[in-house]
Subunit: 215 residues, 2 copies
């Protein structure tokens, strides 16, 4: 089986925006953008890892939620997904948004020009890498133990890997909301159709799932 680079459960608005500008500790998704509006479809499912009650839907959206970790052996993320700090690290004590048991449970490679030592939280080990997308892909594949690599975002990181033609499959959920400004994944999903097969699957929840795989 070939090892794939996969974007999974990446949420954007109708106008293609996945995060706002001016991200801070208080607003990790920046101005304007409410992450809950983009991802509530996943939060409503039985497989959502942060559920505190036993309910949740088990329809179409649950398939996407429970596939998040399926055959994934490593993740690559941009520095801005890891944390709110910019420039040289001022605070090594702060170890990301996810508490003591981050939901990745694999090696995670954080792309940054400012290196810092690897550390482990729960079942996740974070490594910091100053590398091109192709170099990072190679390192993550080697760490993934034969399984696939998830490109975790944010928007700029997904775009860099698309520009380098390194993405094999891409699942983007488009929520019924429009932001007007922010960080844009695409002008239109049709932008990717020169290189990818593209299916558009409306969910009963109101979100639309866009599925792409390499032609």
């Amino acid at each position: 089986m070939p090892q794939l680079l996969r974007v999974q459960n990446f949420g954007v608005s109708q106008d293609g925006i996945g995060a706002g500008e001016n991200q801070t500790f208080e607003r990790p998704f920046g101005e304007t953008v409410e992450p809950w509006e983009l991802m509530s479809w996943a939060g409503a499912t039985a497989s959502w890892p942060n559920r505190t009650d036993p309910g949740g839907s088990r329809g179409l959206d649950d398939y996407f939620t429970r596939d998040f970790a399926h055959n994934i052996g490593a993740e690559i993320m941009g520095r801005n997904k890891f944390g709110h700090q910019r420039g040289p690290w001022m605070d090594h004590e702060w170890q990301g948004w996810w508490g003591d048991e981050p939901p990745f449970r694999t090696p995670v490679f954080v792309l940054t020009h400012h290196l810092r030592p690897s550390f482990t939280l729960g079942e996740t080990t974070f490594h910091f890498l100053d590398a091109t997308p192709a170099e990072a892909a190679e390192k993550a594949k080697a760490a993934a133990d034969g399984r696939d690599v998830r490109i975790g975002g944010g928007v700029s990181t997904v775009r860099e890997f698309l520009d380098a033609d390194l993405i094999d499959t891409l699942h983007v959920s488009v929520a019924p909301v429009t932001y007007g400004k922010g960080l844009r994944l695409w002008d239109s999903p049709a932008d990717l159709e020169d290189r990818f097969e593209h299916e558009v699957i409306p969910s009963p929840s109101g979100v639309t799932h866009h599925l792409f795989w390499r032609k």
Copy 2:
């Protein structure tokens, strides 16, 4: 996490027929019914376990195909899914349709009034059980090591477990074909809506996925 009883990737025609009458060694799905017509949507995907070429689609249908084994720890099947013989076993040498490496890779419990010794093929062990659906469910859950139990079919077995109200989730693919006669899962999928939430998801491949989960 509760252990669920799940029907996965069960294929029927527009008129609810999953197998024909008079099943034989040569025609395991009986008269009239062509299994390929019911399941070609899965065979076209990248995750189909019997692929011999590296291609295959990675859209919606692939999510269902690759979810087949996800968190499944045991299967229960009817005797007619295991084999073509009826009545007392005349031939213990014949060990099912699946060759040396059956695709289940868990304990499988075959419901039959005619017991025979358990045996292992590859990563699958077949046990033979003369039991009610509730008793079989209990045994399979105990063998599933905390994971879910798949109710593998055929039609009569799925119906028995539905009648006993033991199914938690049900995924049925409805193919664009009509048979007129045979073994019928339902008169209409709406029959189940008194007990189950129900989503209808048309796939670009032409099949329609029906997803049910307990209310």
